[in-house]
Structure formats: C-alpha cells, structure tokens
Symmetry: C2
C-alpha cells in the first residue's frame, strides 16, 4: 500500500499511467513524451513496476509497458471507506 501511494505521488508517474490508459508504450516512446532524461523516466517506470501499477514485457530490443489495474482496485477499497462516512 505504501509503495502504491508513493508511486502515485509524482505528476510524471501519474501522467505515464494516464498515457498507458490509451495504449501500451515502449520505454522509448514514453521518454519522447517528456522533457526528462531517459534514465529518469526509467527510474519512474521502475517505481511504477514496484508498485505493480504497470507491467513490463520485453519484445526484442524494446520493453513494452502496460497498465495493471488490479492494484487500483485495492486503492479504491481504501478510499471507499471514506465515501461511506455519514456527515
């Protein structure tokens, strides 16, 4: 849980998630969309992977990144408890 909130606590990483919502992308394609260096993006991708928010799959010399929405379910459950609060 901790690592997921940590992964979400960065605008670049959230942007990456939103991009992957539209379609899977290679690391290089993701790098192109930002002004940030490749290694920095690679680090962001690693954090997202650690949080299991994305999955990396190697295809030849490329690595495709895609969303893994199962973790989102868990986060949602955490939030839902607040939704049911009686005001």
């Amino acid at each position: 849980m901790n690592i997921v909130f940590k992964a979400l606590n960065d605008p670049t990483r959230r942007m990456i998630l939103e991009m992957l919502l539209k379609k899977d992308l290679t690391a290089g394609e993701i790098v192109e969309k930002f002004k940030i260096s490749g290694p920095s993006i690679s680090h962001h991708l690693d954090l997202l992977k650690q949080a299991k928010l994305v999955v990396a799959e190697k295809e030849g010399q490329f690595i495709y990144y895609s969303l893994n929405t199962t973790v989102v379910d868990e986060i949602m459950k955490w939030f839902i408890q607040f939704k049911s609060k009686k005001n």
Copy 2:
C-alpha cells in the same frame, strides 16, 4: 490534486484519516495515539488541512479535527478511469 496525493503519501497521515473516520478528535488526542512528537503531528495535520482532507475547528483551547470527504470524491474520479479500462 498534487497536494492530495502528497498528503496521502505518508502512513501517519493515512492513519490519522482512518482515526477521524471513527470520530472527530483534538490535536492532542491525535498526538496521544502516536509515538511522534506534538509538533510533528501538528505538521502532518497542517498538510492534511492544506489538501482539504480534514477541517480544523477551534473550540476553546482545543482544536477539533474532522474529515472532509469531498476531496475523496475527486480522487476517486481519477481512479475510476483506470477501472473502466478494457483488458
């Protein structure tokens, strides 16, 4: 949005939110539940307040903290887009 994710990215602050789910508490009551110093908790409460996740209300010499769930709605909306992803 940024500030909300930031506020949520700390186990102490998430714990405080969960405590406030049960009932409103004064700053002092919250401090008692942790091993962390008063000023540190005060700082956490300030961040939660900035994110509008909690509301502070002064009653005499006490300050009562309570949840503000409207921000949770916004966060949920952000997550829901991932839920509707077709795998």
